[in-house]
């Protein structure tokens, strides 16, 4: 490995992906750590970051694929895998659990790859936790999306033309995204309620001023995640949720179990029970959705209820989403290089080991 490692930032190729892996502010910081940054021309345009800004912060424009370390947001497509230099390092979301083929291709290419989603969620690695940072954006946007599609006000308003009651918002699955969705909806004046299968979430739900919906089903898994429910539990949950959901104007679902398809929480019947004009925002679309009527990436209207399943919400707020992601990447990069900016990867480190999906043989 040579000193002064070069970091390449390609333009994202996935449809609708407006994020970029590094932002100028972070480029500056990496420069201070003796790293060179090569940015593909136009890489930041979708996030409204002009090339100038990168140059200004000390990056050069050029071919990112020739770099020692390539940092991306979305997993590389086949062409991009092919463009990677053998022996180089790739950092980005790599979907190792849902798309194991990608890891294989990378291994074959002789690339050392670190998946952002595999970084262990331990205290020390919080600054690299891109799942959290992007889920946070997604939660905020989900609440906005619900407000946008609802034909009603979120806040209560007493006016000369009558009083509008506050919208009732239910969040199913209260992880990082769910909490932020609850908090944002409440800020807008909605009456918020949260539900999860992990019992410790009750306090967290209350801590953002929301109410806790208790269905009596507990399913805490390991590492702060939930476990999958048994069939009996699932049925009971659907039945009870179906009843509860009727009273809500907007339902935001974020329930996921790592590496599995998302549990179905909102049945077609439950949607039918909702008032006309209500909204379901399903953030679990990528893993199949929490709502039976979800068509990932689409907005469908059924029984006058809007069911939206945006696939990549963080990309709809590209500037801050990129900025937060870039900071995560920066924290990981700083773990991988020494003081001189030379790559020096310690594979015994818990974080490095956890994140690494393939290693140059």
């Amino acid at each position: 490995m040579t000193a002064n490692t070069v970091v390449g930032v390609p333009k994202e190729s996935a449809a609708g992906e407006r994020r970029v892996a590094l932002v100028p502010k972070v480029v500056e910081r990496l420069r201070a750590r003796n790293l060179s940054v090569v940015v593909e021309p136009g890489a930041g345009l979708a996030a409204l970051i002009p090339d100038d800004a990168y140059v200004h912060s000390g990056a050069t424009l050029g071919d990112p694929w020739a770099a020692d370390v390539v940092v991306k947001v979305a997993p590389p497509n086949e062409t991009e895998v092919g463009a990677l230099r053998a022996g180089s390092v790739l950092i980005g979301f790599l979907a190792p659990l849902t798309d194991p083929g990608k890891a294989k291709a990378l291994r074959e290419r002789g690339v050392t790859a670190f998946a952002m989603e595999s970084i262990p969620r331990i205290s020390r690695a919080q600054s690299m936790d891109a799942l959290s940072s992007q889920a946070n954006v997604a939660g905020y946007r989900a609440a906005m999306l619900a407000a946008e599609h609802l034909t009603r006000f979120f806040p209560m308003l007493t006016t000369a033309a009558g009083t509008v009651p506050p919208a009732k918002v239910l969040v199913l699955g209260v992880g990082v995204a769910g909490l932020q969705a609850l908090a944002t909806a409440r800020r807008l004046g909605a009456h918020t309620t949260g539900y999860d299968v992990r019992p410790e979430v009750a306090d967290q739900v209350r801590s953002v001023g929301a109410q806790w919906l208790d269905l009596g089903i507990e399913a805490a898994g390991s590492g702060g995640y939930a476990r999958a429910l048994t069939d009996a539990e699932r049925e009971e949950q659907q039945r009870q949720l179906g009843k509860a959901i009727t009273g809500f104007d907007a339902v935001i679902t974020t329930a996921q179990v790592p590496g599995r398809t998302a549990p179905t929480l909102v049945t077609a019947e439950a949607v039918e029970g909702m008032r006309a004009g209500s909204v379901v925002v399903d953030l679990a679309g990528e893993s199949g959705g929490n709502c039976e009527l979800t068509e990932p990436g689409e907005i469908v209207v059924a029984h006058s209820v809007t069911v939206a399943s945006p696939l990549n919400l963080p990309a709809t707020m590209p500037e801050h989403a990129s900025e937060l992601y870039a900071r995560n990447v920066q924290a990981l990069l700083e773990l991988l290089v020494d003081a001189d900016g030379a790559l020096s990867v310690d594979f015994t480190d818990e974080v490095v080991a956890g994140a690494c999906v393939t290693k140059e043989a």
Binding site: P155, A160, T163, P166, G189
Partner: protein, 462 residues
């Protein structure tokens, strides 16, 4: 133990009961009990005195007590609540009168204090002067409050002060001559009469609104005269009781004056007017009643139900958090609190909702106009915080008013109304609000945020 000692011990018990009772009187919870404890002390003191060896003239005593009881009990029982202040003035006056009369009799009995030690004469004469001032001053105060005499200041202008000084000097001169050995009855009469004139002259020029402070001041003076009489008679119970009343009465007078934004010297100098504590901008001849944060606090604390009526002024003052805190505090005391949200309160639709949501007021506490209007008649206190037009009864009653026809919150149906605003300025529609001149309305002037905070603080102290 000698009988004397026993009497002295009873006196100690008596004043201990006075003090204990008085401590009770300073808190609303213990006040009733405190009053009766003090009364028990009085009973002990009277019994102790009656045990004095060699006491005679029983029929005299009995007659006096009987007359006193016959007059005192029914008048205390039957006086209307609204006439209480003048009753207190009257009771205070007769107390002062008693002191003056006793001093007079002592003078006569002792041939002008011929053989008494110097301090006895001084104390007796002091009590005579103060007692007489107190008696006549209280009578004038009574007359003003009862509207037998005009409530407006009556004075002789610039000559008032010199005249009062002359009267004071005359009584002092009489006293001096008596102490110096004079024993002519005319001396004591001169003393009593000049003191009487002084009492009348000092109180006459003071406006009816300031009377409570004046009565309190005369009350403290009567206390001091009682203490002086105690010194003259070498009676501990009198000394302690009189002095306690003198000291606490002085503090109390000060507190009252402060609460009314008056200074005692200014009041006594007779500079103040007859308006009933008029607000900063009483419109026309109508007067408004001001209140203080602590009074407002007591009123709310002892209510069963309070309705808060927020308006644009609450928004301008950004008082929403303070208001929420006040409501929390009231609820913790068991008071039912609701917020009456008028559809056009503020300056944009839903203005109050936005603010109250920010302050995290539970939705269930917010009531729409139609719902809450039924509640006002069952409400003890409506607290209007920076709202104006939305509470203006002119909208119901005055077809010429620009707001005529607008539905309003019927705050005037509640048992009492406290309005928090900075002054008498009108609201958006630019019209006066008759609510402010309603007899059951009191105004707490000041920025809504600070007023609410003050009330909250007072509540905590209760």
């Amino acid at each position: 133990m000698s009988r004397e000692t026993g009497i002295q011990l009873l006196y100690i018990v008596a004043f201990a009961l006075f003090i204990y009772g008085l401590m009770g009187l300073t808190g609303p919870r213990t006040a009733v009990r405190g009053n009766w404890i003090a009364a028990a002390g009085m009973g002990v003191a009277v019994v102790a005195t009656l045990l004095t060896p060699g006491l005679g003239n029983w029929w005299l005593i009995l007659l006096g007590v009987a007359i006193g009881t016959a007059v005192g009990v029914p008048s205390a029982r039957q006086v209307k609540m609204t006439a209480m202040p003048q009753m207190v003035a009257l009771f205070n006056g007769v107390g002062g009168g008693a002191v003056a009369l006793i001093a007079w009799v002592e003078f006569r009995e002792s041939a002008g204090f011929a053989h008494a030690p110097g301090h006895v004469a001084v104390a007796s004469l002091f009590s005579a002067v103060v007692g007489s001032v107190s008696f006549w001053g209280s009578l004038v105060a009574y007359g003003k409050l009862q509207e037998v005499i005009t409530g407006r200041p009556v004075g002789i202008g610039k000559l008032q002060q010199p005249l009062n000084l002359v009267l004071l000097l005359v009584s002092a001169a009489c006293a001096g001559v008596i102490i110096g050995g004079g024993d002519a009855e005319v001396l004591i009469l001169g003393l009593l009469l000049s003191a009487a004139a002084l009492g009348v002259m000092v109180v006459l020029p003071i406006g009816g609104a300031d009377m409570p402070v004046v009565i309190s001041l005369l009350n403290a003076l009567t206390g001091l005269s009682a203490a002086a009489m105690g010194l003259a008679l070498d009676n501990t119970a009198l000394i302690v009781a009189g002095m306690i009343v003198g000291a606490s009465g002085t503090i109390l007078t000060n507190l009252m004056a402060k609460a009314m934004n008056r200074s005692i010297p200014a009041i006594v100098a007779g500079g103040f007017g007859g308006g009933g504590g008029a607000g900063p901008a009483a419109s026309g001849d109508q007067t408004v009643r001001r209140t203080s944060a602590s009074d407002a606090a007591v009123q709310m604390a002892y209510a069963n139900q309070v309705i808060i009526v927020p308006g644009y002024g609450m928004a301008v003052a950004q008082a929403q958090h303070a208001v929420r805190e006040l409501a929390d505090m009231l609820e913790a005391r068991g008071v039912e609190v609701y917020y009456a949200i008028h559809p056009v309160a503020g300056r944009m639709p839903g203005h109050m909702n936005v603010l109250l949501a920010e302050a995290d007021v539970p939705y269930e506490r917010l009531k729409e106009m139609e719902d809450i209007n039924r509640e006002f008649s069952r409400t003890d206190v409506a607290v209007v915080i920076g709202a104006n037009d939305v509470t203006n009864p002119a909208a119901r009653t005055d077809p010429s008013s620009p707001i005529y026809g607008m539905p309003i919150l019927n705050v005037d149906e509640s048992r009492s109304v406290i309005v928090l605003k900075r002054g008498m300025a009108p609201g958006f529609a630019g019209v006066d609000n008759a609510l402010y001149f309603d007899a059951k309305t009191s105004m707490l002037f000041g920025d809504a945020k600070s007023s609410v905070a003050e009330v909250t603080e007072e509540l905590k102290a209760l």
